[in-house]
């Protein structure tokens, strides 16, 4: 199954980094781009919270063209991986139709972060991808 174009481009760029250290630096660069919205922009409600994510991540979306614009809050300052993934999902999926977003497999996190993720970390990050896909489907149900 092919990924949405912008997301595929990000993955292709990450694959260009030959060493783990350089790839990690690139991911931290994504995390550095992340801007944590205030509660006025993204209310920290329980139903917006990503289950199983220790980084205290919340997700919501707004209509944006044919698709949606995704907002993420990461309230744990140590949640570097969550910040990186949030930014990657925003750049890779914002504005895309739901059908495109639904193509994203939950385990894409291993393509992004590598296979050495612990189970705790992988659960939280997978939860972010799932919540994004749930948000994406809202367009059809509104």
């Amino acid at each position: 199954m092919s990924l949405p174009g912008p997301l595929q481009e990000i993955l292709d760029d990450l694959k260009l980094f030959p060493s783990r250290a350089e790839r990690i630096d690139a991911l931290i660069g994504w995390g550095d781009e992340f801007v944590n919205p205030g509660a006025d922009q993204l209310p920290r409600d329980e139903f917006r919270k990503v289950p199983g994510c220790e980084s205290e991540v919340f997700v919501m979306s707004e209509a944006d063209g044919e698709g949606r614009r995704y907002l993420f809050a990461v309230d744990n300052p140590q949640g570097i991986s969550a910040m990186a993934l949030a930014r990657i999902l925003q750049v890779g999926l914002n504005g895309l139709p739901d059908a495109e977003v639904q193509k994203v497999p939950d385990d894409i996190i291993f393509e992004i972060f590598g296979n050495e993720l612990s189970m705790g970390k992988s659960l939280g990050l997978t939860g972010m991808v799932r919540m994004t896909k749930i948000e994406s489907a809202k367009r059809n149900s509104v």
Binding site: A21, I24, D25, L27, I28, G31, P51, G52, E54, P77, Q78, I80, S81, A84, F113, G114, E116, L117, S118, M119, G120, K121, S122, L123
Partner: protein, 291 residues
């Protein structure tokens, strides 16, 4: 002042020198004979910012053999020390995320090689960060130091499944440090964590449940004073200093934390970590479990 904010040397530990405070680390940052080692669950954390001068030891890449479900051998261990500039006279201070789970795990693996000059930073990475102390993204390079080490010795601090079976035969003491739900068998994994493949839920027969986190202050992640630790393990697990004890969890990381508390902070001489833990026991053919 809460009890847990007592200075380490006032907490009554059997071996207080294995624990250092964030203040101590800050005061000793530039010592050439001190090497800070960060061990995390999150693979990005170290690179995103670590205590200045710290190196990273990753629990999957650096401590485990890539092909065999086992730890480093002697040559691999010496290479690990060498590339991090750790010599025979270096004091290694471990710290990390998750309240020092992986720091304790690394400490335990180093201990298997007889590396005794090791300490843990009380409260871990989060305490350092919460105190607003300096972090750096500079990855240091240290000169390799010649070292020689004996082969890894698993006999005193590590338990294998056959050891646990023998331990059961003599009604030895066991502590299961997982969550109460995992212990009871109502779930096969930590709360909010996925199932990692154990076929059955429950615990090793006779094991008492003392979740690892009871050994630390929920406020700042520092270890409880010795009197509180002692009563915790005496009351909840019927453990005395003279007992031969095996601790386990799911893969051996949380139980490394408890092993550290029992062996080094309380000074109980016979404590072994069963790193096969529930991922092995919960799938083993022919072994008993209890619910």
């Amino acid at each position: 002042m809460t009890q847990t904010s007592l200075p380490i040397e006032a907490r009554g530990y059997a071996n207080p020198s294995v624990l250092v405070s964030t203040d101590w680390v800050a005061e000793n940052l530039n010592r050439e004979d001190v090497r800070l080692v960060e061990s995390n669950e999150d693979p990005l954390l170290y690179s995103a910012g670590h205590i200045p001068g710290a190196v990273e030891v990753d629990w999957t890449r650096d401590l485990n053999d890539p092909l065999t479900r086992d730890y480093l051998n002697r040559e691999q261990f010496i290479e690990l020390l060498s590339r991090n500039g750790i010599g025979p006279d270096t004091t290694v201070v471990f710290y990390g995320d998750k309240n020092n789970w992986w720091a304790a795990y690394a400490f335990w693996v180093f201990n298997l090689f007889g590396f005794k000059n090791a300490k843990i930073m009380d409260g871990g990475r989060l305490k350092w960060v919460k105190e607003g102390r300096e972090l750096s993204r500079d990855v240091p390079n240290y000169f390799a130091k010649p070292m020689s080490f004996p082969d890894r010795d698993d006999s005193t601090d590590r338990a294998f499944r056959d050891d646990v079976l023998r331990h059961l035969d003599k009604a030895g003491k066991l502590i299961d440090v997982r969550s109460p739900e995992e212990y009871a068998g109502t779930r096969l994994h930590m709360p909010d964590y996925p199932n990692e493949g154990a076929l059955r839920g429950g615990h090793i027969p006779g094991a008492k449940n003392v979740p690892w986190a009871r050994a630390i202050s929920p406020e700042d992640g520092t270890f409880l004073p010795a009197t509180e630790l002692k009563s915790l393990y005496e009351l909840q697990a019927d453990i005395q200093a003279s007992d031969d004890v095996v601790v386990y969890c799911r893969i051996g990381e949380r139980s490394s934390h408890t092993w550290f508390a029992l062996k080094h902070l309380l000074g109980f001489p016979e404590v072994r970590n069963y790193d096969g833990s529930w991922t092995e026991w919960g799938n083993l053919v022919g072994v008993p479990i209890e619910r």
